[in-house]
Symmetry: C2
Subunit: 156 residues, 2 copies
DNA sequence: CTCTGTGAGTTTGAAAAGCAAACCCTCATC
DNA sequence: GATGAGGGTTTGCTTTTCAAACTCACAGAG
């Protein structure tokens, strides 16, 4: 039974517990750009080396990245995304789309991504069932966890 | 000119600088569920009260939330999402979709969301231009920031 | 063979952030 | 007058973060 002080059980929270620490998603961004080496990750994300080492360990243990040896002598490593790691790409695209819209003025975007369809890529999140773009208030949440309602824990 | 040690300029990084601290996105989740009061946020997210106060301050200053008085005497407040805050919902849905797929076994999802189309909502990220679902390797990134290539900072 | 450089971290010591629990203030109710 | 709710702030301690320095293994230059 969940103690009354436990937070809401939630896949958002669980996912953030794995990749929500500072730098983790920036590391994944770089790996997906093909920059999987330690010193590249330090330079491009700005993470302190010890913190980066800790994040990489966690991401590997969490099944997001793998560590590959790309040179035997001297030993040299590189991090790559697993299939699960690749599937976090939509999260990055959603964050980027939001930042481009709200944190920048038109025309000063630091990175433009060209989609294979020929157009500039702007990510949009849709419902897999109907294909429609998600809009505020177009849904009803149903908590499944026992003892929880939308508002919070049921009668203590 | 960007100093060589500056990290890559990036809207993902900028967005995370605003909402990427621990609890921030959980706070937003609760607010979007309609739970905008301080004590509800403490209970449902598990954030310590002082940390929550700091996060709320930052989210209000960042234009994600607003603080509304819902009772004059006694004075009582409630946090609500701004339009910009609402637009972060796709990020939450993408995180939730990933967690549901990778962190849970079929059938133990803590929250099911019913879309107005009548089906269960599963978020999928698509290209706004062609409507196709994003897939690994279906794009080419073009850094716009001077001094930066995909691999990192240009010639130091 | 020594000197310098690169990759991939680890160590160190000080500063900042996180945490739980206790506390505070205003009102409302019993 | 005591209790309780809401919305925080304060306190004292622990954990992280950070930047800089250090390590180790090897490679290539001189």
């Amino acid at each position: 039974m969940a103690a009354t002080k436990d937070p809401r059980p939630c896949s958002i929270a669980d996912t953030l517990a794995l990749v929500g620490e500072k730098y983790s998603l920036l590391v994944l961004r770089e790996v997906l750009l093909g920059n999987g080496r330690f010193d590249q990750l330090v330079r491009n994300t700005g993470a302190p080396r010890d913190v980066l080492a800790a994040r990489l360990k966690r991401l590997v243990e969490g099944g997001i990245l793998t560590k590959r040896k790309y040179s035997e002598r001297p030993q040299r490593f590189e991090y790559r995304a697993t299939a699960a790691g690749l599937e976090l790409d939509p999260v990055l695209m959603a964050l980027m789309a939001w930042g481009d819209r709200h944190l920048r003025t038109e025309g000063d975007r630091p990175m433009v991504i060209e989609h294979d369809c020929g157009h500039e890529l702007t990510a949009v999140v849709t419902c897999s069932a109907c294909g429609g773009e998600l809009r505020p208030g177009d849904r009803k949440p149903h908590p499944q966890a026992p003892g929880w309602t939308v508002a919070g824990p049921a009668a203590a």
